[in-house]
């Protein structure tokens, strides 16, 4: 259960009644039924340090054995001791926390004690003859279980509740031979029944074994990268093996034998062509899934081809044939939980409808195939763009894919299997800032004379790789988390980027003394490029915008806070626009001399184009946000946003908590904030006209962006996602403009009596820009 707490204060206050820290009277045993799998720390993730290679050795599970002789009956002592307590007195160990309390079970309570479930698995006859259509039904329902598990449900509520799988695994097999349905009762004389048993042995068993093996791979991959236990994926296997030790080739051979059996027997009277084909396709799909799940990041790095496309084709076939399936509900039972997970309450089985399961599987195949694109390195910005769009996809990518993409990106301290962190970091830096040659010159790092400026520069760049590199690489991982988690991570990491910015500024100043940079003469005096901290600042600002955008997407802001939060969004965007212009001013075209190569010219052009692209997207979103500030301001004025609790400085501070300590841009004083959001001096008509103008500009901006190519947008790896994103932003502009139009018209015609506003979060709109719909009562 959730909640891990140590309570140093729990016994110290004199408030509640009679919590005395008595020494437990002799004989009281601590009634602590703890789920073995531990604390639910919010930071719980299995591989936060990308430099640690996690190799979970396949565990050899031991079936629980506790000789009865070790149990002692303490009932009498317990009753005697508890009679010494008054009503309202509690004996509590300081280590008995809320977590323990929540995890405690009352034996004999149906809701909590899985021991009260009838052990149906003991009565299950795996050798009961099955019809081909029943096999199809079982295999399809197993697929549903598997997809439910991929989507975040526990094995005890899905695959492990299947009694065939239970038969195979409950003896904790370490070889294929040990994974059986038990001893076969004599072959029945009835030919039909004999076939019905054969099919279980020859088709269902191989299918189940291959399925388990697939799960074994998934169970290894998912927690090997940053993934939050129980939030996204439940890796608990209750001490049962997933045949990790068994060689995959044996399992493939078993699948082959199943396919052969089908070929040999398809002429049989009860085994129609249709059903044989259906089973064959399911075996082929399972084989294909096993081939693909058995591929780890290293193999992809070496260039191994996947066959996820083949999987997709087979899923389509399997979907059509599902109509042939005959369900076999008796092959599942929740009662397995009494032996798998007796220390937690029983949980009902998760039923995922087949159509959903098929959709999920198709999603899994498609998205896993898609992430392989990052192996064709197209530069740092393109890679980062891919990850940002990947994380924002709906439906959200599955835990398997989210973990695999992290492995593909970073394994054994190498990016996409081929380059050091330094490489992608310097690429990102140069793509954005086009810093002075001296900073990135690889020759610097070869220099050994410490008094040489090149050496000094290289040392500081090494610092940058170490310090900024960590934050930068973590960003890629962050975007692989679920959106709620991402926002919480970013709220903390912007503080780190803020510190990094300050540190980088110092380093920039130091480097300057070695590069002898000539300042730019501006109205405000001489200005220096500050490449490193400029790069940091740009990311920091973008992340701050993302925190606000996620606040809208995750519905953290209620309607009455929209105006204020869109104001902050446009504030951060505005700041980034000015910053990009600043960076621009230092991106000077290299002289067309022989010393500057074509490469150099190209790099300059690319940076120039990227900065322009950023300006375009920033100003478009800025216009959209600003338009919305004005729109929501008018709506709020006329109390069209529902019950609005009083706003005050305290709540303002609470809302802006993640940004309060950021050095720049600073959080605005509450009174100033109120001024710009309430706009008391400006009339409704004026506000609506400003809103209309800004939304018009935003539309223009997004329509222009829509005409650009993926190269310009640095979205070559995710063009479709990028275009869709831009379309949805454009639609949000239109939707908002309609609202403005309706409001303006209603005001002209006679006022806002009877006007109602609702929020449309439809999929056609951008998730951070839902559209207010102004409804008019006729």
């Amino acid at each position: 259960m959730n909640g891990c707490e140590t309570n140093p204060n729990s016994h110290s206050n004199g408030h509640g009644s009679g919590v005395e820290e008595l020494d437990p009277p002799a004989g009281i045993a601590k009634l602590q039924l703890l789920d073995d799998h531990d604390d639910h720390d919010d930071q719980k993730n299995t591989a936060s340090d990308p430099n640690i290679h996690h190799e979970s050795a396949p565990q050899l599970p031991q079936p629980a054995t506790a000789p009865m002789s070790r149990f002692i009956d303490i009932t009498r002592e317990f009753i005697e001791a508890s009679e010494k307590l008054d009503v309202g007195q509690l004996v509590k160990d300081h280590e008995f926390t809320l977590f323990q309390a929540v995890g405690a079970l009352e034996i004999g309570d149906l809701k909590m004690d899985s021991g009260l479930l009838e052990p149906e698995y003991e009565l299950f006859d795996a050798w009961k003859p099955r019809l081909p259509e029943e096999l199809v039904g079982i295999m399809d329902r197993l697929l549903c279980n598997e997809m439910a598990w991929h989507s975040g449900s526990a094995l005890s509520q899905t695959l492990f509740a299947n009694l065939y799988i239970d038969q195979l695994l409950s003896s904790c097999p370490t070889t294929l031979k040990q994974a059986t349905f038990g001893a076969r009762p004599g072959t029945p004389a009835d030919l039909l029944d004999a076939l019905g048993q054969d099919i279980v042995q020859s088709v269902l068993r191989p299918y189940c074994i291959a399925l388990i093996k697939c799960c074994g791979y998934v169970c290894w991959q998912v927690p090997s990268e940053r993934m939050y236990e129980e939030e996204d994926f439940v890796q608990q296997t209750y001490g049962l093996p997933l045949l990790q030790i068994v060689d995959a080739r044996e399992v493939f051979a078993l699948l082959e034998s199943a396919l052969e059996w089908l070929d040999e027997n398809k002429g049989a009277p009860s085994l129609s062509e249709e059903l044989a084909t259906a089973m064959r396709n399911r075996l082929l799909l399972r084989k294909s899934l096993l081939e693909n799940f058995s591929l780890g990041a290293e193999m992809y790095h070496e260039g191994v081809e996947s066959t996820w496309t083949g999987c997709l084709e087979l899923v389509a076939k399997v979907e059509k044939e599902h109509a042939l399936a005959k369900e076999v509900p008796e092959a599942w039972s929740m009662s397995v939980q009494r032996k798998l997970a007796s220390s937690v309450p029983p949980r009902s089985l998760v039923e995922l409808p087949f159509e959903e399961a098929a959709t999920t599987l198709k999603q899994l195949c498609a998205e896993t195939k898609d992430i392989l694109k990052i192996l064709n390195y197209a530069g740092a910005t393109n890679t980062m763009t891919y990850f940002m769009h990947f994380g924002a996809r709906r439906p959200a990518p599955l835990p398997y894919t989210r973990s695999l993409i992290q492995s593909l990106f970073m394994k054994d301290v190498k990016i996409i299997g081929k380059m050091p962190v330094k490489c992608i970091l310097f690429d990102d830096l140069s793509e954005l800032c086009y810093p002075m040659q001296e900073l990135l010159n690889p020759a610097n790092f070869e220099v050994e004379a410490p008094q040489s400026p090149q050496f000094q520069i290289a040392r500081r760049m090494d610092w940058f790789v170490e310090r900024a590199g960590k934050a930068y690489i973590n960003l890629y991982r962050d975007f692989c988390q679920n959106r709620s988690r991402l926002r919480r991570i970013l709220c903390k990491s912007i503080l780190d980027w803020d510190s990094l910015q300050v540190e980088a500024e110092e380093i920039d100043s130091e480097i300057r003394t070695f590069t002898l940079e000539e300042p730019l003469q501006t109205r405000d005096g001489p200005q220096y490029s500050f490449s490193l901290s400029s790069w940091v600042y740009h990311y920091k600002l973008h992340l701050m915008e993302t925190v606000v955008l996620l606040g809208f997407e995750l519905e953290i802001f209620p309607l009455h806070e929209f105006a204020g939060m869109y104001w902050y969004l446009q504030y951060y965007l505005r700041t980034r626009a000015a910053h990009v212009e600043r960076i621009c001013s230092f991106v000077t075209k290299p002289p067309a001399s022989s010393s500057s190569s074509a490469e150099d010219q190209e790099a300059y052009q690319k940076t120039h184009s990227l900065l322009n692209y950023h300006l375009l997207t920033i100003t478009s979103m800025q216009d959209l946000s600003t338009g919305l500030v004005y729109l929501y301001c008018v709506l709020a004025r006329h109390s069209l946003l529902g019950p609005t609790p009083p706003a005050d400085a305290l709540r303002y501070e609470g809302r802006l908590k993640p940004f309060l300590t950021i050095g720049c841009p600073e959080v605005v004083a509450y009174s100033a904030f109120r001024d710009v959001v309430d706009n008391v001096e400006i009339s409704d008509a004026e506000l609506l006209s400003y809103a209309a103008e800004h939304l018009q500009e935003a539309k223009r901006g997004y329509m222009h962006i829509a005409k650009l190519d993926a190269d310009t947008a640095r979205a070559t790896l995710c063009e479709q996602d990028w275009r869709k994103n831009m379309q949805r932003l454009l639609r949000s502009c239109f939707g908002a403009a309609v609202a403005v139009g309706v409001l303006a018209r209603e005001m002209e015609v006679g006022g806002l009596e009877g006007v109602k506003v609702s929020l449309d979060r439809g999929a056609g709109y951008h998730e951070a820009f839902p559209v207010p719909v102004v409804g008019v009562r006729k």
């Binding site: 408030h15 509640g16 809320l98 939030e231 305290l650 908590k657």
Partner: protein
């Protein structure tokens, strides 16, 4: 919506009457809970923070209860927590839950709380409205927080300005909150917690 039968009386939890009162509290809260709690969970709160527990009665019948705690959060602010809130179905929609929450908050304020927190399902619109009316903010979203796979919002009521904004790190513990107050009369599926 059934009108209340009589005037509602509010009182603080009385530990000496635990035997009767705890059972009534437990019975009311557990009806709507999808995740079962042993008696230890109730005792954990009521024995240590019985003074933060308030009950609403219609005559002798318990019709509403709020259970909370108050402790220092990760060595920082003194944080109140609304652990459980429930109103009997027939009595919903009459502001009983709001009153109970307000009483708990007042008691926490009197004990110098810096803030009050709770979690509730993202779909529990009625609860969210109730708390927002009292000045709570949604501070984070917790993905798949509940065992039925539903997500939660953490809601926080700030009672004092932060003395030192630089130690504004949000709490990370998972604490279970079960809020049963629904203002709507239509039934919600039993999986809500």
């Amino acid at each position: 919506m059934a009108a209340t039968q009589g005037p509602i009386n509010y009182s603080a939890y009385d530990p000496s009457r635990e035997v009767a009162q705890l059972e009534a509290i437990r019975s009311m809260i557990s009806t709507d809970l999808s995740e079962p709690y042993s008696i230890y969970v109730y005792r954990y709160f009521l024995y240590q923070w019985g003074d933060l527990c308030y009950m609403a009665f219609d005559g002798d019948l318990l019709v509403g209860v709020v259970v909370g705690k108050l402790e220092r959060h990760r060595g920082g602010p003194l944080r109140g927590y609304i652990a459980m809130l429930a109103t009997k179905k027939e009595y919903r929609g009459n502001g009983i839950a709001t009153k109970l929450v307000q009483m708990a908050i007042d008691a926490m304020k009197a004990q110098d709380a810096d803030e009050v927190a709770l979690e509730t399902e993202t779909t529990n619109t009625a609860a969210i409205k109730l708390y927002e009316r009292l000045g709570f903010l949604r501070s984070k979203r917790l993905h798949r927080y509940y065992f039925n796979g539903n997500s939660a919002f953490r809601l926080i009521l700030y009672l004092k300005p932060s003395p030192n904004p630089s130690c504004g790190c949000e709490g990370n513990e998972h604490e279970h909150n079960h809020d049963h107050d629904q203002d709507h009369s239509h039934s919600h599926d039993g999986s809500s917690s």
